[in-house]
Each structure stands twice: as C-alpha cells, then as structure tokens.
Amino acid sequence: MAITKRSSTALAAHRFEYEPAPEAIDHVSIAPRYGLFIGGKFVEPRSGKWFPTINPATEEPLSEVAEALKADVDRAVVAAASAQESWGRLKPSRRARYIFRISRLLQERSRELAVVESLDGGKPIKESRDVDVPLAAAHFFYYAGWADKLEWAFPNRRPRPVGVCGQIIPWNFPLLMLAWKIAPALAAGNAVVLKPAETTPLTALLFAEICQQADLPPGVVNIITGAGKTGSLLVTHPDVKKVAFTGSTEVGKLIQKAVAGTGKHLSLELGGKAANIVFDDAPLDQAVEGIINGIFFNQGHVCCAGSRLLVQESVAELLLAKLRDRVDTLRVGDPLDKNTDVGAINSRAQLEKIQGLVESGLEEGADIYQPPCELPAKGFWFPPTIFTNVSQSHRIAREEIFGPVLSVLTFRTPAEAVEKANNTPYGLSAGVWTEKGSRILWMTERLRAGVVWANTYNRFDPTSPFGGYKESGFGREGGLHGLLPYLGLN
C-alpha cells in the first residue's frame, strides 16, 4: 500500500503542462436577439421585455431573449392546445418520423449545439460534445421508436395523450433536459410548452430552429423564455394538463402546492444528496475516478452528484490521499478548451450559494482541501473542494450544494453505510464500490434511491429510467417508465 501511495504522490508532483486547445467557434452564429417560439414561428414578446444571457466564463453577453409574461404564456398554451388534437390523432408512425427527424438533426448540428451549450452554461466542451448532445439525440431516437408501439408497452390498457404539457427545465444540462422532457411527451402524442432556465436559454432556441427544419407541425413544440414568474404562469395555466419540472426541491414543493386540487398531472425531478459508498475491498484507483466523475462532472451541477463520499474507515486515509492527488491534476478553466475538466460556475447566484455553503462547512468545523489552481480573473469560478471530518449534521452533509464540493464521511460496517446513506430527505441516486458481488446486491436493495450505480457513477442512457424517491421527486424519465407521466391509461 505504501508503494502505491508513494508512486501516485510522485506522479501528482509532476505537473503536466498543457497548451491551449480551443474548440473552434467560427462555425457558430448566435443571433443578437431571440423571440419566443410559438406556433412554429419566432415572435416578439407581448410583454415587450427582453433580458440578456451571458457567458459565465467571461460575463460577456451572448444574446438577448424575450421574457414571456401572461399574454405570451397564454399565446403559447393556446398554440399548443390547438396543435394538440391533430398531433394526438396523427398516425403514430408519422409522429415517430418527425421525432426521428429531430434526432438526426441534433446529430447533424451536434458540434454547433455543443459549443453554444458550453458558451451559455460554462460546462467543458468535452462534456457538452461527448455527453449532453449525443445523449439528447439518443433520447429522441429512443422515444421516436415508442410513438407507434405504445399499445405494446402497456398491454390491456388504452394509452392516450394527457394533453398540453408545461415543462420547466434547469440550467445544468439544458439541451439534455429538454430532450428528456420533449421526446417522451411528443411520442405519447402531446403538444408542449417548454421553458428553459433563464441563464441557459440558447440551445432550446436552436432546438426551436431544428423543429422548423424538421417541418414539425406548428404549435406541437413551443419554447418560451423567462424566469420564475414565467414558469409560475405556465404551471398555473388552466389549459396546461400536465406539468413536468426538473429543478430544486424547494421550487418543486411550490409547484406541487400550486397544482394541488387542479387535477393536473405532475412529475418532479428534484434535488439530491447522493452517497457514493466505497468499501475497503473496492478497486481504489477505479473508485477515485468514479468519485471524481461523481462530484466534479459538470462542476457538480448535477442533481444526482455523488456529493457525500462514504468511505470505509480502514481505507479512508489511503483513499483520501489518492483522491487529493487526483484532484490536483484537474484542469479548471476555459470551458471551450478541450483539455478542461472543470468549467465555469453557471451563474453569480449559484457561485454565491456554493460559497455560502462552503463557509458553513468551515464554521461547523470540517477540514477543507482545495488544490492549488489559478482561477480566471473574470467569470464565475470555484475550485474543486473536498471536506473531511464532516459529520452527518453539518449543512454540507445535508443540503444540496450543486457545486464542485465533496463531503467525506466514514463508516465501519455495511449496515452503518446504509444507515448513513439513507439519512437524508433526498433519494435520487447512490453509488457502491466493492469487488464483492453479493454485497453490491445487498447494498443496492437497501439504498433508498431511484438510481444506483455499482462500481461506476453518473451513467445515463435513454433506455434507463431516472428519478427519485422521497423529496427527490416522483415520476421517471427515460426508458419505458418514462412514457408513463405523459400517458393516460384507460
């Protein structure tokens, strides 16, 4: 063990130098201004209001988008409602063809979408290029195939569309979350009004162009931009029959309250505080990669991030040494550099939230480790952070930080690991690292979480249902189960 430790320390001491490897952006054009996408056309907002969207890595404005208020939301819902009937009655195989077209167009325009995603949201280009955009296209491809097979998915039932869907998505995976929302809704025969997050509206607006390119019937997909007020108007609109929301548990609860008594269908994909559990027999180097991927992927702006590391006491010291060495090698900086591991924090507000929670960790007595790394002068940045000596009552062990901050706790027995892992109001995801197959199954049976990764972390696939237990929400996205929130079953 000592030998392993020495050699990895020696490796970490050798700092690799990287030349800049910037992604080309000359093939991308962002319009100075985007209207609302309603009834198949971009229209000026009746609110007359616009707001900027900025690049969080530079704080430079990228474009200006419309703020949809009451008259605009109404107009979008009316457009969706008038498209609903014909889309719902369209021959299912034709619906499938439109969705297949969309999937192909996403693939064809993949690099453009990846670049815009990284510009607007701050995520490293290697993630938007290799994860977000391909998964979004795959999601449409998967659900396209379901459109004309719904009767086989639910034998003995008569699946029917639920009606106009109001969908609100977060800023952490803008295009991918759009795909998770729109693909199953369209396959099930619903028309949608989707609101992207106010800090990351651009790929949704490019998606609107893709709907035009696909000749999707007008009104089947409507994209409205705005912030919380716009979302609230959409959720409470009487002609919206189904509400789907991905975002914080706090807002999710407000939405659940707002739709109470209305008879609207609801699905919620909310926060998390996942335990990533490492046993002493785990392949530690592999586990370290999984821990890094679990918490630093997408700057930790991931609802299922492995933000609580539970490590068995007997290997804690060794694992933490390896983890610190590995964190030292992470490259933080320009999201459009192909070598970047950790990009920009999505917004100033999110940066302040992360800073506040990190301060609480220090005040409550946890020990902090941050690798030496130079952060750019402009933009929103936060270094990868590891807290040790964390107790279960600390805010950093209980609250979702949604940033590159890992809280480390230890355990002795499998039962204690389960107890600690489940000691949270959330239940979205968990990870287990051990070489023992029967223990994996024992653990995964007991973890109260909707997605459990064994000896891996943060894997996603259109065929694989995703969603939480407890206060992480209800309903599933992905897979056959992902159709259910969008169908009525007689």
């Binding site: 795959a138 548990t249 999710g252 609860k253 407000l254 659940q256 309250k257 739709v259 109470a260 008594g261 919620l268 909310l270 109001p425 239940g427 994996i440 995964t444 979480a449 909707g450 997605v451 459990v452 990764w453 064994a454 000896n455 891996t456 894997r459 696939d461 065929t463 694989s464 249902p465 995703f466 969603g467 237990y469 407890k470 206060e471 992480s472 929400g473 209800f474 599933r476 897979g479 056959l480 189960h481 079953l489």
Partner: protein
C-alpha cells in the same frame, strides 16, 4: 328461561398490532348504541411511528410471503362473511360487498410475486452495463377509505399498498366505521407483523390534515376524499413531496400497486 344476554364488543383502534382505545378517551356514535373510538392526532402519530418501524421488515419479506399473508387475510375475511354482512346492514348488497372485499385481497395477493415481472424492465443501455429497473415500496402509505362502500373501499385501498410491500395507516369510513374495526380483527389474525397495517376511526377533519402533512408519510391513497379534501391533501403533501393517488373508481388494477411504488434502476458494469 331468561333470554340470552349478548357479550358486546368494545370497538377499538388497531395500532401496532394491538387493539387500543384512543389516547384521547373520546368516542362518537355513528351507529346507535355503539361507541366508536375517536382517534386523535396523537393516535395518528403513534400509528405512523408503528408503521415506519415495521416497514423494513415487511418490505424485506419475500414477495411470495407477502402474497401468502394477504391470501390468509382473504381466508379470514371469508370465514367471517356473515358477521360482515350483518355489520354492513344485511341483505344481498352487503353480501356482494363482502365478496368484493375478499376478491380484492385474493387478487392483490396474487400480484405480489408478479409485479416485478410486469412492471420491471431490463434496459438495453448503450454500454457495457447490466441495467435493470424494479419496483420497490415507497414506505408509509396513508389510506383514506371511501365512506361507502365502507369495507370494500378500505380493502381496495390497503390491499394494493400492502401487496407492494408498503405499510399502512388507514382512516376508516367516518359514518360506517364498524366494518373497518372488525376488518382489523381479520388483519390481526393473518400474520401481518405488528404495525404493518393500522386502522383508525374518528372524524376525518381531525385526522386527515395531520396525515397529509406528516413528514414521515410517503404517500396517500386519497380515494375516499371529497374534491375539497383532495385539494387540501395535495397541498399539504408538498411539505415532503408525498405521492398522492386519487383515482380508480374501485376497479382492480396493477397500477393501484405500482402507483405506490418507486422504480429503482441499478447499473452493474460488465467486465472480467
């Protein structure tokens, strides 16, 4: 010869496998001459605590075992058919209602070990992983029974919840509580571990808001709620993101089970 003198039953709440009086000491008389316990907020809290304690054990039973226990409840209920008919007011409709309750128990008993095969999936992900999704119980379920049918409505609420491995705190029909408390005697002799199913009687307006807002209740079957009650339950449920189900009109459906279940997806790498 003197006429036979009945030994009358004292109706009690069913909490943690025991027949208990309401801690409040109160009663109400929805049926002439019969005192029915009027459960309090504290009785509700005790019932939720008992249910939570029983959850791991019941959820951890094999599906086959849960099916056997539910089937035994059907046997016990069928054996007391005449008593229930009498408590429901006698006549053919009462007989049909008891039969419907027995049928629900038998039907859901048969679902316990088939659900994962019907509602679960193996997911062909694009990578070297064995990935599957299985239904798991959501936890403590509050069942709000319909006012009528008082017996069949209650059974159609608790049977699917229990079949899925959940534990139950049931609020009985307020106007017709007797069949629910007698059903508790059926449940008590069917090998359910203590706390797995709890039955409370009393006033809906005294209990429902606390059930809906309880932070350790995971889901509510609101079949017996009025539209106003349902809206209030849904609003209070947001406090801890409870699942609220409120449909079904009495039909038997595997959705009644899966609506009170969570889908868990597990990824296993494939490698040497």
């Amino acid at each position: 010869m003197a006429p036979r003198l009945d030994v009358r039953k004292t109706y009690k709440l069913f909490v943690n496998g025991e027949f208990v009086r309401s801690e409040s000491g109160r009663a109400y008389r929805p049926v002439a001459g019969v005192n029915v316990p009027r459960a309090s907020r504290k009785d509700l809290r005790d019932a939720v605590r008992a249910a939570r304690t029983a959850f791991d054990g019941w959820a951890g039973r094999t599906a086959m075992n849960r099916g056997q226990v539910l089937y035994r409840a059907a046997e016990m209920l069928d054996g007391r058919r005449q008593q229930f008919i009498q408590e429901l007011g006698g006549g053919k409709p009462a007989g049909r209602e008891v039969d419907a309750a027995v049928e629900a128990l038998v039907w859901y008993a048969g679902w316990t070990d088939k659900l994962a095969q019907v509602a679960g999936t193996v997911n062909p992900v694009a990578g070297p992983y064995f990935n599957f999704t299985i239904p798991e119980p959501t936890g403590v379920v509050g069942v709000v029974a319909t006012e009528t049918p008082a017996l069949a409505g209650l059974v159609r609420g608790i049977a699917p919840a229990l079949a899925g491995g959940n534990v139950v705190v049931a609020l009985a029909s307020e106007s017709k509580p007797l069949p629910a408390l007698t059903l508790a005697e059926v449940l008590a002799t069917s090998d359910f571990p203590p706390g797995v199913v709890n039955v409370l009687t009393g006033q809906r307006k005294e209990l429902l808001p606390w059930l809906a807002a309880h932070m350790d209740v995971n889901a509510i079957d609101a079949a017996g709620c009025t539209a106003e009650e349902l809206a209030a339950v849904q609003e209070a449920a947001a406090g801890n993101v409870k699942r609220v189900v409120a449909h079904r009109n009495g039909e038997l459906s595997p959705s009644a089970v899966t609506d009170l279940m969570e889908m868990k997806t597990v990824w296993h790498p494939i490698g040497t």
